[in-house]
Symmetry: D2
Subunit: 113 residues, 4 copies
């Protein structure tokens, strides 16, 4: 995925609609959390097994796809507005997680530390 290219597209999309005024980092964090809430609603009454791909209806899978896309779009837009390099951020975070959740300690135990 060419993140920079998608971010340019999203920036142009917002500019053409005069939406930059709405896209403060604060507002984008709200939009992202709003979409995460919609994602939750797809899964909230399902069992864990019932939330697996093989158990979802076409419609549920399409909804999950749409919500994930919305979440990514707002995340890319927010990273662009804050001038955060997402790829570096992810690589750094995976390193931090590997140090925090060592295999010995974290095996079979997903508790937050």
């Amino acid at each position: 995925m060419n993140i920079g290219k998608i971010q340019l597209q999203l920036a142009a999309f917002a500019k053409e609609r005069d939406w930059d005024q709405f896209h403060s980092p604060k507002n984008l964090s709200m939009a992202l959390a709003g979409e995460s809430g919609e994602l939750l609603e797809i899964f909230q009454w399902l069992t864990q097994g019932g939330s697996e791909r093989s158990a979802l209806s076409e419609e549920q899978l399409q909804s999950a796809t749409d919500e994930l896309a919305d979440i990514l779009i707002y995340a890319l837009r927010l990273a662009d507005r804050l001038d955060i390099n997402l790829e570096t951020a992810i690589v750094e975070k995976i390193k931090k997680n590997a140090a925090r959740y060592t295999i010995e300690v974290a095996r079979g135990n997903a508790e937050k530390r």
Copy 2:
């Protein structure tokens, strides 16, 4: 960003820790929304101007970077578990949005449709 490569890394990370049992789509949607909530907490008492990069402290910017990375990590992991092609999903969603929010109708108006 090579999404597939990161997804493989995240899958190996989970497998080594025997975390696949925790990573149902339902649970991952909760983790993603939990991180979105932490992102909100950075911005909740700031003005819109105060949420712009130039107004944030180093610490606030680092927190936002960490939370965005966590959100992306869970989104990539969830897409992997549901076998959703995120890049296609984003391209499709941008097309849908362009049709729903035409420039004429949406100029200066970010209301949901």
Copy 3:
């Protein structure tokens, strides 16, 4: 507000529909967060001034009222399922907050501690 009475009503509502199977604390926390996401969506593109009652449309105010009611309903239901006394919990939390955010330290500063 007679919390106990409303909780009994909600419990009967769920029982009549055979919904107890869906109302695990885990699922109720998802439903509550989903409704909080819908509340966010009402305010996400508004300025702070634009989110005040005097600036909201009838429709926006009605939506906020509905979402707040949904949030309360799920919170009461969850407290009932976990046998948590909400009134005591609130009184205790206000005391904790008063100790954590003393007037001297917190005046004009809403930073989390």
Copy 4:
């Protein structure tokens, strides 16, 4: 629970700390959603059975109690700022739900309508 009395207490608490400037409905909706995210984090890796009171540790139950109290506090504060009568709102919402989810149609099926 005397909602009005708690709302007065919360209003005084904010006023003493000069926090009214932070408590716009927009910001309160973010704080409420942030706390809902923290509630999710308690339950995210648990099974449904593992989220029941009998299966929670003392610490998990205390965390859930604290988060529920925070959610209620922000909900009461937001209702106060928007001059929404929460008790009426809940009664109305339960009526709407009874009409939308009739026993015949909704029995054993929690799908959103």
